[in-house]
């Protein structure tokens, strides 16, 4: 519907604020790359001709088409000299799908539509193409509308996910929004909210950390006894120690209780913790911490403290 192969019965679709029904449909389609599950490479054309079809109609020179084809084949990891003059039937399913993607990108469209592009591939290959897709996605910096029936694929590949049900958009959000705050029971069932622990891979560190607003940052000069008091009152296991300008480390309540001299300052007992990036996956963070034997990590975006990440907190939130 976005490329007007089908016109809407009601409602409207806008691209960058322009209603698509006001754009010439041929112009619109030339500006939207399109990839479908069946791939749809033209069997009577070589890879070069398939990719170069629209440029040829647009009157590009032979050399320019050839150069563009080579560039795109390289982008999708197919050596141009080997693949350029092959026919689609001489390619494997995965290779065909890459050519399909290359063809969709040929006019450098600002928008890409992908309709279950990996649906017909076996799980291993699908996984591999998804990884490549993520890399290509970063490279080309285009808006991609990606339709899938596989919620995990959506979590893996999508920045924003729209759940459609019976012709309506039920919820739009990140993986975190959908998993932690599903809009209705249908969405909850779809994303498997009741099995949230399964989603460690789909959630980022930032999604399930204890944010800085919910934790205490204590001055390094605080005495151990008052720190114990503050932390027990607030019900906190961990506190961040700061000297006012920069983070010194963290202290854990059990460690503080073990120290005999309660008059010492916490600054001398602060331990430097593992630092996590906010956009890493929760799963890799937990495996990293397990390997190092850490029970608590700081989430930092550069110099800025965003929160604390503890496996305990993850468990509490997800189960």
């Amino acid at each position: 519907m976005i490329n007007r192969l089908i016109d809407p019965d009601e409602g409207s679709i806008s691209i960058n604020g322009t209603d698509i029904t006001s754009i010439d449909e041929i112009l619109l389609r030339k500006n939207i790359g399109y990839v479908i599950q069946q791939i749809g490479l033209f069997p009577h054309m070589t890879v070069r001709e398939n990719i170069g079809l629209i440029p040829k109609i647009e009157g590009w020179s032979r050399d320019r088409i050839e150069e563009r084809v080579k560039e795109l084949l390289t982008l999708v990891h197919l050596p141009p000299e080997i693949f350029m003059d092959r026919y689609p039937k001489e390619l494997s399913g995965g290779q065909q799908q890459r050519i399909g993607l290359a063809r969709a990108l040929v006019m450098d469209p600002p928008l890409l539509l992908m309709d279950e592009p990996f649906g017909a591939l076996d799980p291993l290959l699908r996984r591999q193409l998804q990884d490549e897709f993520i890399a290509i996605k970063e490279n080309i910096g285009r808006t991609i509308v990606f339709v899938t029936h596989d919620i995990n694929e959506a979590f893996r590949l999508g920045d924003r996910i729209a759940i459609m049900h019976e012709g309506r958009i039920v919820q739009v959000g990140t993986a975190r929004d959908l998993i932690l705050t599903p809009a209705d029971p249908m969405v909850a069932g779809l994303v498997g909210s009741e099995h949230r622990y399964r989603h460690l891979e789909n959630l980022t560190v930032q999604d399930i950390m204890l944010p800085v607003s919910e934790i205490s940052v204590l001055e390094a000069s605080t005495s151990i006894s008052s720190a114990i008091g503050l932390m027990t009152d607030a019900g906190l296991e961990v506190a961040v120690v700061s000297d006012g300008t920069s983070i010194q480390g963290i202290v854990r309540l059990p460690d503080l209780l073990r120290v005999g001299q309660h008059s010492e300052t916490i600054g001398s007992h602060a331990r430097s913790p593992l630092i996590l990036r906010p956009d890493g996956t929760a799963l890799s963070a937990i495996s990293g911490m397990k390997a190092d034997g850490d029970v608590c990590a700081l989430v930092m975006d550069g110099e800025e403290l965003l929160g604390i990440f503890t496996p305990d907190e993850v468990l509490r939130r997800l189960v």
Binding site: N3, L5, I26, L27, L28, R29, K30, I32, Y34, I36, Q38, G40, F42, P43, H44, L53, I54, I57, P88, K89, R103, L113
Partner: protein, 211 residues
């Protein structure tokens, strides 16, 4: 044996007759291809006319070829022209029908992708539908080749020249040797032409066929 064949061959000018035969055949076939493909294309553009047109062509097809040649006598006399007309009338159907079928039976995904890429209908017809219909069209032409070969021979009996003429002589003189030589030669020619057409068709299928 070989001597006898040679005698008949030279005596009845079979080399010239063969050339004459192939000339009529070629003209008839080219006309049939042009008209047949054009008819198939027109019917593809105006699909609702296809059932009546194909019914009519089917009716022509069921008409015995001798009867058709006789019916053409008051309109076109005898000789080359009515023979070519009869060939074309018989050959339009297989070519037109295969062209039409080839054009409409392109897989919907390919058409969807073509449209979504921003191809206009004319581009889709020229760059996608036609090439993908080539093997099918070639199949129709191959059938037409066999028809045309038979009718050109028959036309020769009705004064069109070609290899039908010596056959006619053989029948008149009750000379089975002439009938044998000319008849087997016509049959062989038909097989050879059909073989060539089959080769072309297979190559087109390999090149343009879906997989």
């Amino acid at each position: 044996m070989i001597d006898e064949i040679q005698t008949v061959w030279i005596r009845y000018n079979l080399t010239e007759r063969t050339i004459e035969h192939l000339q009529i055949f070629t003209i008839a076939l080219l006309l049939a291809i042009a008209i047949g493909v054009a008819t198939g294309l027109l019917l593809y553009r105006r699909r609702r006319y296809s059932p009546p047109v194909f019914s009519t062509l089917n009716a022509v097809q069921t008409f015995p070829d001798i009867a058709l040649l006789i019916l053409l006598i008051p309109l076109a006399g005898i000789g080359t022209v009515p023979t070519i007309i009869a060939c074309v009338l018989y050959s339009i159907l297989p070519i037109a029908r295969n062209t039409y079928t080839g054009l409409i039976s392109v897989s919907p995904e390919l058409l969807e992708v073509g449209r979504a890429m921003g191809l206009v209908e004319r581009d889709i017809l020229i760059k996608i539908r036609f090439p993908l219909a080539f093997p099918m069209i070639a199949g129709g032409i191959r059938i037409a080749i066999v028809f045309t070969m038979g009718i050109v021979t028959l036309g020769g009996i009705f004064g069109a020249g070609g290899l039908g003429a010596p056959l006619q002589t053989g029948i008149n003189l009750m000379r089975s040797d002439i009938i044998f030589v000319a008849g087997i030669w016509v049959g062989l020619l038909a097989v050879i032409l059909d073989g060539i057409a089959g080769g072309i068709e297979a190559e087109l299928k390999r090149r343009f066929g879906s997989w």
